[in-house]
Each structure stands twice: as C-alpha cells, then as structure tokens.
C-alpha cells in the first residue's frame, strides 16, 4: 500500500504538503503522476513564495506571477536558483518594463521589503544614460529595528553585518514571464565609506560575457547607524550593471545583459562561490585599470616628447 492510496488527497494536501519547503515539494512532484497533480496546486506554491520573499505578496505581483507558465511554481524555480555564469547574448526585442521585488533580512528578521516598477522603453534618453534602479529617495531613511551595542568595534559590527544580512533582488519581466534573482544572497563585500560615514554592502553576481570580458550586476545597500540609539538604518538600495572597468553600463547594454540572464539557464544556489568570483572580478578590474593607466601615461609622455621635439625643431629653424 502506498502513501497516496492510504491517505486521502485532501489530508495529504492540506496537512502534509503545506509543511514542505519548495525543493522538497518539487522533488515530491516528480515521483508519480498523482503526486505531480497534488504538488502543482497554486496555493501551496504561492504560500511558499510569500514566505520566502514577502514582497511577492504585493497585489501588483500576484497577478503578474500567476501569468507565468506554471504560475508560482515556475516563478519559484526561476527566483530560487542562481543565474548562469556564462552569458550568450543574442539579440532580443527589448522589453518595456521590469519589476524589482526586493527583500532584505537581518538574522532572519525582515527589515526592508519593496516592489518597484521600472520603465525600460527604448527611448534615446534611456538607451544612452547609465542604467540604475534606486529603491529609496535621496533623503529617505528606513529604520530597521536592529540595534548595535555602542560604536566600539567597527570591525565586529562589519563582520556581523557580513554574516547576517541576506538580500534577494528579483527582477521580473512581465512580457516574457521570466524572473531572476540577481543578488548573491550574502554580501560579497562590506566596507565603511569614510566620506559619507555609511556602511556599504555589495551583493553582486559576476557573469562572463564573450571570451575574457565580464560584467557584474551590482546591488548596493548603504546603511548607517543612528547615533543616539545605535539602531541600524537603511539609506540606499540600488542596482547597477558594471562592466569590467567598473563603469556603469548604459540602459541599452544593461537591458541586453538582464534579458540575457533571465532567458539563460539556472544553476543550483551554492554557498560561498559568489565571494570568490567577486574577488576575481575586482582583481581583473584593478589589472585592466592599471593597464589602461599605463597606456595613457605612455601616450602622455609620447605627446609631450613629440611636442618638445617639434618646439626644438621650430626654434632651431627660426634661429638658423
């Protein structure tokens, strides 16, 4: 006698399947056709999505996600996995809008959640200006409810932030019904910006394009600590796409990258590789920038030398 025969379908669905997480539910759906139909129930998957990413409970998103090929199930499989590491860019028709669903957690507690719609209509202005999505207004500050004891050891606070902060930034294309999670989960870099007295956390995924070129989808979270109460505040959350030199890509190129990532394959979300890849990317960036600087220095010296030579020639011509 099997489990599916013994226990009634409704008990199985309402009491057992509701206690499973997304991965287990997907695996259980692969066992037999009866379980597949039981595990495809949209309510199960929408509950799992809302629990994993509370921003997806926004009414704007529930209708968008329901339009996906298998509704919340395909959305979960798109957003739960990591984007591909190698991008094959092919020309695609540009999309008019992308929706970002962002959730920021500290030690399991949700401290920031927002859904933002960005118009990406391919006008001249959009295609040539640098691409950037900002979730907070310039002076807007969000209180997190996380307290840090005193301002004693900066190093300790930074390492606590590095270990406990988890961000998910899901970009959704409503016209093609695909989504991708562009965040690395845990931060790849946490550093203090002494100019603005803020703490910058970088959540980035590095994607290789062509042979030795790579870009990074850079999610930057800027935090501060309230002087009086020692409470952590969130001052800025933004997404940009940077090339190998660290420059912001234009709207047109960024959309090509984002759409390519969304249509690409997915990998299983592994642990810790993102930090390594980001370190390699920063190393590559430094080397390329140094090479460029050297080249420019040579060019400068060549210009100065030719200028001096021309001047000497002219002077000697005038003197003689």
């Amino acid at each position: 006698m099997t489990i599916a025969d013994n226990i009634h379908d409704d008990i199985f669905q309402t009491h057992i399947l509701t206690k499973l997480d997304g991965q287990t539910l997907a695996a259980a759906g692969c066992t037999s056709s009866k379980l597949q139909s039981l595990c495809s129930d949209q309510h199960l998957w929408s509950d799992i999505c809302h629990a994993t990413w509370p921003s997806t409970a926004d009414p704007l998103l529930t209708t968008t996600i329901s339009a996906f090929s298998s509704g919340h199930r395909s959305f979960f499989s798109d957003a739960f996995t990591s984007p591909t590491r190698r991008l094959t860019t092919t020309t695609r028709r540009p999309t008019n809008e992308i929706i970002s669903a962002v959730d920021l957690r500290y030690a399991g507690e949700l401290i920031f959640s927002k859904v933002e719609s960005t118009k990406t209509v391919p006008t001249d202005w959009f295609q040539t200006s640098p691409f950037r999505v900002d979730l907070l207004e310039p002076k807007e500050v969000v209180l997190s409810g996380v307290k840090f004891s005193g301002t004693g050891d900066d190093h300790v606070m930074l390492s606590e932030l590095e270990n406990n902060m988890i961000l998910s930034w899901i970009v959704i294309d409503p016209t093609r019904n695909r989504a991708v999670n562009l965040s690395s989960g845990k931060p790849v870099l946490v550093q203090r910006n002494w100019l603005t007295n803020g703490i910058e956390l970088t959540f980035a995924v590095v994607v290789s394009v062509k042979d030795d070129d790579c870009v990074t989808c850079n999610v930057q979270v800027t935090c501060g600590v309230n002087e009086g109460r020692g409470e952590l505040t969130v001052r800025g959350v933004s997404l940009t796409v940077l090339d190998v030199y660290g420059k912001c890509l234009s709207g047109k190129n960024s959309m090509v990258i984002l759409q390519g990532i969304m249509a690409g394959e997915r990998r299983r979300r592994g642990g810790g590789e993102e930090r390594e890849r980001y370190r390699e990317y920063m190393q590559m960036r430094r080397e390329r920038n140094e090479k460029m600087e050297r080249r420019e220095r040579w060019l400068d010296m060549a210009c100065v030398a030719s200028g001096v030579a021309f001047f000497m020639a002219f002077w000697s011509f005038v003197m003689c």
């Binding site: 006698m1 099997t2 489990i3 599916a4 013994n6 226990i7 009634h8 008990i11 009491h15 057992i16 206690k19 499973l20 997480d21 997304g22 991965q23 287990t24 997907a26 695996a27 259980a28 759906g29 692969c30 066992t31 037999s32 056709s33 009866k34 379980l35 597949q36 298998s70 499989s77 739960f80 996995t81 997915r266 299983r268």
Partner: protein, 203 residues
Amino acid sequence: MLKNLNSKHIQRFSYKYLPQFPISPNSPKLGFSRSQIANYRSNFPTTIMSSSKTIVLRSSDGETFEVDEAVAVESQTIKHMIEDGCADTSIPLPNVTSKILSKVIEYCKKHVETPNADEKVAEEDLKSFDADFVKVDQSTLFDLILAANYLNIKSLLDLTCQTVADMIKGKTPEEIRKTFNIKNDFTPEEEEEVRRENAWAFE
C-alpha cells in the same frame, strides 16, 4: 454538644471539607448555613472528591475502551457527540481499529495528564514522548493520521503529518519512491520533461 464547639473548631471543620474557601481573620466566625454550602457545592461539583465521568468507546472490531471524559474530549468529534447527547451507552467508532484506538487513547491520556507546557521539564518530557510515539511502521502511521483526522484531534494530526513531512524532506524523487513504495507511472518522455523542469530542486 454543639454548645461546646467554639468558633475555632467550626473554622477548621469548614477548611477541611471546603478546600477552596479562603479563611481569613475577617471571615464570619460561625459556620455556614446549609443553603450556603449546597449553593457552593453546586457551583463546583468536581472539586470535592467527585468521580469524573467515564466514556466507553467501541472500536470497529467490537473492542470497548473506558476512558475519562477529560481524555475523550481531546477529540472534537467525541466532544460534539457528548454535547449532542449521543454518548449515553457507548460511542461507536467504525473507522478506527482497536490497535489504533488504544494508541490514540495513550496519546490523549499523556497530553491531558501533562500540564500545559508550564515548566520546562514537563515540556521536554512531552516532546520526548511525542518523538517515541511516532516511531512506528508506515502503515500504523498512516492509520494514525486517518484516525486523528476522523476524531479531529488537531495536535495528533499535526504531529503525525509533520513526521511524514520530515520523512519526505531532503530526498530525491527516487528515494521518496523507495521510502513510500510509490509506483512510477510516468512514460519515459513525461519523466524526462518533469525531471528537466524540476532538476534545480535535487540535482
């Protein structure tokens, strides 16, 4: 003889047989009238060494089990039957065998005896009882789920379903099939498509 009883005796008398009554220095020194005591007793019928009612449950194979009412009303189904007045002789449970019914009664007894998670020790003890309770073979576990659903015992249903959920967690489809003896009724093409769609979950 009554004249020899002073107020001190009467106070001690009332304290012994009406344990819930607070004795304070300001309470009336003389005893209580019969009507007062009768009134008091009718409001608290079970505090004075009264025998609690027992319910007889009859399993599907004819075996009878006598349980305290407090234990029986852990099941919402039985509770409603008692309230509706169907519990005069015995309550028939045609969907539950004697083996399963005895286990369910054991569970309910333990949960009624233990005070409601007041102390840490009692809570730990209950948790280890629950953990041992579900260490049974699969068919018994499924029968317990069906019985808990029929008898509407929420905590038992949650416990048994969580056990089954834990048995499924973290396994690949082959392992799930093996554990629960599920027949793979996909065609090779269907299987290929399903695996491709869900490979992210287990590969």
